[in-house]
Symmetry: D2
Subunit: 299 residues, 4 copies
């Protein structure tokens, strides 16, 4: 199999060695941007990109994402964190500063279908998605060879009604401390609340419909029955309520009466893999903030 494009990643790291991302979410009030930008200026930061959003300038919720360069970031990272803490506190912020060159660790769960998985692996391999992929976990053995050909460990954990709980325990032990993000790339099992509680807004699922249309099972069959003229897919964070978590990205593709269920599925696979890869890319670059079951995406 073709090797991971280490060169791409090396280039990325070189280019981004001094690049940091600051994420802020807090009650909106006057003076936030002034204070944040003064802080960045005083710490010698060069702002490369800055996005902000308020649900309402008066008493709303404020969101901000800043990409900036600081000379010798690695050495000065602790200092930045320490010094910003006071601002964070005074504005009641949820905040973080992350180094762009630290890759998130992404575990992928799959079942039998490979399209969503392969799109992620291809984009990862060609340096579009910046992540470490410590493992792929599946309830079926089918995709073992594929995954391993990319040099990624593959774990087969079968799931039956009876063994569901222990299977989940095995999954948890595998990912615990090893994954910052779990991507369900057409994983056809429902995760229990017990699993979910440690991964709030850290599990991304691709749903094979334009949610909230066709919530639940067999969406393509139902789309066919209903005679819709567009087929969609939705990438969302997984929450306890099925198919109801915060939507990150959606897209659609035009169909017509000639499309049977299997044609819809084939078109759907194209939409699914595109939408999932886009959502995962945004998450990996800290472009998605969540508030009240909705996302703010700074693409």
């Amino acid at each position: 199999m073709y090797r991971l494009s280490d060169r791409e990643w090396h280039n990325y790291r070189e280019k981004n060695k001094d690049r940091a991302r600051m994420l802020i979410e807090c009650p909106d009030r006057a003076g936030i941007v002034a204070e944040v930008s003064r802080f960045l200026f005083e710490h010698g930061a060069n702002i490369a990109q800055s996005d902000q959003y308020t649900t309402d300038p008066e008493n709303g919720r404020f969101f901000m994402r800043v990409e900036f360069d600081v000379v010798d970031l690695e050495k000065r990272y602790e200092e930045l964190q320490r010094n910003f803490a006071q601002i964070g506190e005074s504005f009641q912020m949820n905040w973080s500063i992350v180094e762009a060159k630290r890759r998130k660790r992404m575990a992928i769960f799959v079942s039998k279908e490979d399209h969503a998985l392969l799109e992620l692996l291809w984009q990862w391999n060609s340096g579009v998605l910046h992540a470490d992929i410590p493992m792929v976990i599946s309830n079926h053995p089918d995709l073992k060879e594929t995954v391993e050909s990319f040099g990624i460990p593959f774990y087969h954990i079968p799931v039956t009604k009876e063994t569901k709980q222990e299977a989940e325990q095995a999954q948890i032990e595998l990912v615990e401390g090893k994954a910052d993000l779990i991507v369900l790339a057409r994983y056809m099992q429902i995760l229990s609340p017990y699993f979910l509680k440690d991964y709030q807004h850290k599990i991304i699922n691709i749903h094979h419909s334009f949610l909230p249309a066709f919530v639940g099972a067999k969406p393509y069959e139902r789309a066919y029955e209903r005679g819709v003229k567009l087929i969609g897919a939705t990438a969302h964070y997984v929450t306890e309520e099925l198919d109801a978590g915060p939507i990150i990205e959606q897209d659609v593709h035009r169909v017509n009466h000639q499309f049977g269920v299997s044609d819809l599925k084939q078109i759907g696979r194209q939409v699914e893999r595109t939408v999932l890869a886009r959502a995962v890319g945004w998450h990996l670059e800290d472009r998605v903030l969540v508030y009240q079951n909705k996302t703010v995406v700074f693409p």
Copy 2:
């Protein structure tokens, strides 16, 4: 107000004076196309466009639409009808042959919002939609001046909970025998089964969501709550079950977290008027066939 483009319509009629459209729907079996095309050949027809579709070549349902020219169509129209009847019978067809130059009569129902109405009137006025518009009926007086400026009669029939039945009776009396098609261009009242029974697949509504997402009232408010990333609209034939009739056309527009409810509505209005006008155009040109709550559209 600018006058109806009579010149456009005159040109269209001249260009299409010998143009007919044949529509067929029947059980699929071998020999249909052979028989139909032999018929057309023997009657001297020049085929300009021909579309067909089968749900299944074996025991499925067959649909066909042929546009053809016949010299002196007007004189020979009766003969075509008479001669085709036998074929129609032997294949158990629902069929019709219509002259392209005979415009359908389209009544429009509106309430207060003008965007869908104006798009129809603009396209009609510029010769894109070929129809006669004998009347616009509204439960509010607001759009009277607008409608009359196009030279179209406007009828204000208020509807309240108490007067709903007699209001509908008044509407029926107005349209009866005068409309081949009723378009609900953001008409915010529900028509009763009694009204609907005479207009099966002859009433087109524009719903302000990507059905079946957000069936029912206040779809934009609910889309906002759900945090969707695309806003859609659906044109469909009206049936007794609300928002569940055969879908003719759908489209979407991309939105993001910055869009409040009123922004969604504004974007939605653009999608609504585009989708409705496209669906109405197809209906007027006999491009929409209905079967089992789904449409076959030959665009």
Copy 3:
């Protein structure tokens, strides 16, 4: 004709009476945002929306647009201007602060085709486009009635090869001091450099192709010849070099082999009016900045 929606405009003005927009373009260097946001904070501004962009954090060009509310804006507007001047100077900024409630004055030039004009008038009339329209100028008389039905003065200034110069002089006298923006809504004449010099980045044209494909005349005919599968339109600022000015917006619509030249034109008209209205809307809300023949659009 239906009246201008004065109510809409009144509501908009009420809602935006304290809303200002600050526009900045300058060499990028550290501290700009810190200084601007400090200024805004000290003047009691509530930031509603803020966008920025740099071509390069080191020695690039910096662009910023801030929407903010200040209590009693009208009274304090002069003071804001005066106080910001020093910051503007020290960072070598091109800058402006505009009141959202002051509408730009938009003159529209047309020839015979009405689709682009009517879309602008419809969006203006329904309160989507916030502008005053002091006049429509045409080299043909055809659209006089249409324009006047909206209560807008219409000036017919014929243009022939011989009279081109004096016709332009007449146009200039009409718009001089009365228009902040000129929109060429399918105006089929080329403006001279003499005309253009006073309206740099203040004249928006809609070109009927996806520029730079099919620069020049008869783009639909040439698109048909070339057999393209998408038809596009481009809204751009007019510069001396024909069809080469900064692009504001583009869009396309899918076509196929069945589309003849007149079908392409019909589809094209839909794309043209959508694209032009979007570009004009962004310009009216000061969302378009120009630099080196390209636009920065903060939508």
Copy 4:
């Protein structure tokens, strides 16, 4: 590497063992469809899909594609060919009847970039593209391992200015008699007229722009300079005149001022692989007819 999905292909063949496709191109005149459909009926064909198009019912060019099932197709194929020959002659048709279960042989040419190649291999491997891939030829060795992991022979034929002619000779010897279609999946060399003469409308190239915009080299750099708001790709048949062959498919993706050249290239790669795969799929299913440097696509 994951193995070719033989199961998929087996299923396809089973499902399509009696499926044929008839392709017709001829001068339009009355009676063609009648004759063709009579022929099909008399030979016991079940029509599954039928498309036709005429450039003009009077003296235009007629195109037709019929998919049909005939019991025991393999045995009766010769007979169908023989019997249809007379109709073909009398209408001056270019015609062919192909068995759906016979896969076309597709050679792929690449250079260093893998995205277009991998999309084709992925769709081929998952049973979306039905073809045999006897070889991949490249002027660089980089993708050898990738290609061979799919079980496909890889030939490295370096091309320099001096060796161009002999390199082409080596390519010709490899593909001669072994390929029905050549796909240039980002192959960065220009084929000589000598090579092309044997492969008229049998070589598909993906061009990295929305042709005819940015014909020639470095389209993304030039798109960046021009400040376009959409990035496109074009799949077309290769002809002697560079980038001027019949267009099969085009698509675009929205970009904005934030996109640098490398971002445009990344987005472009997504559009390129989608557009190329779609065009190749249509060609493999005999859905593309060429006439006068344009394509008729029956999707």
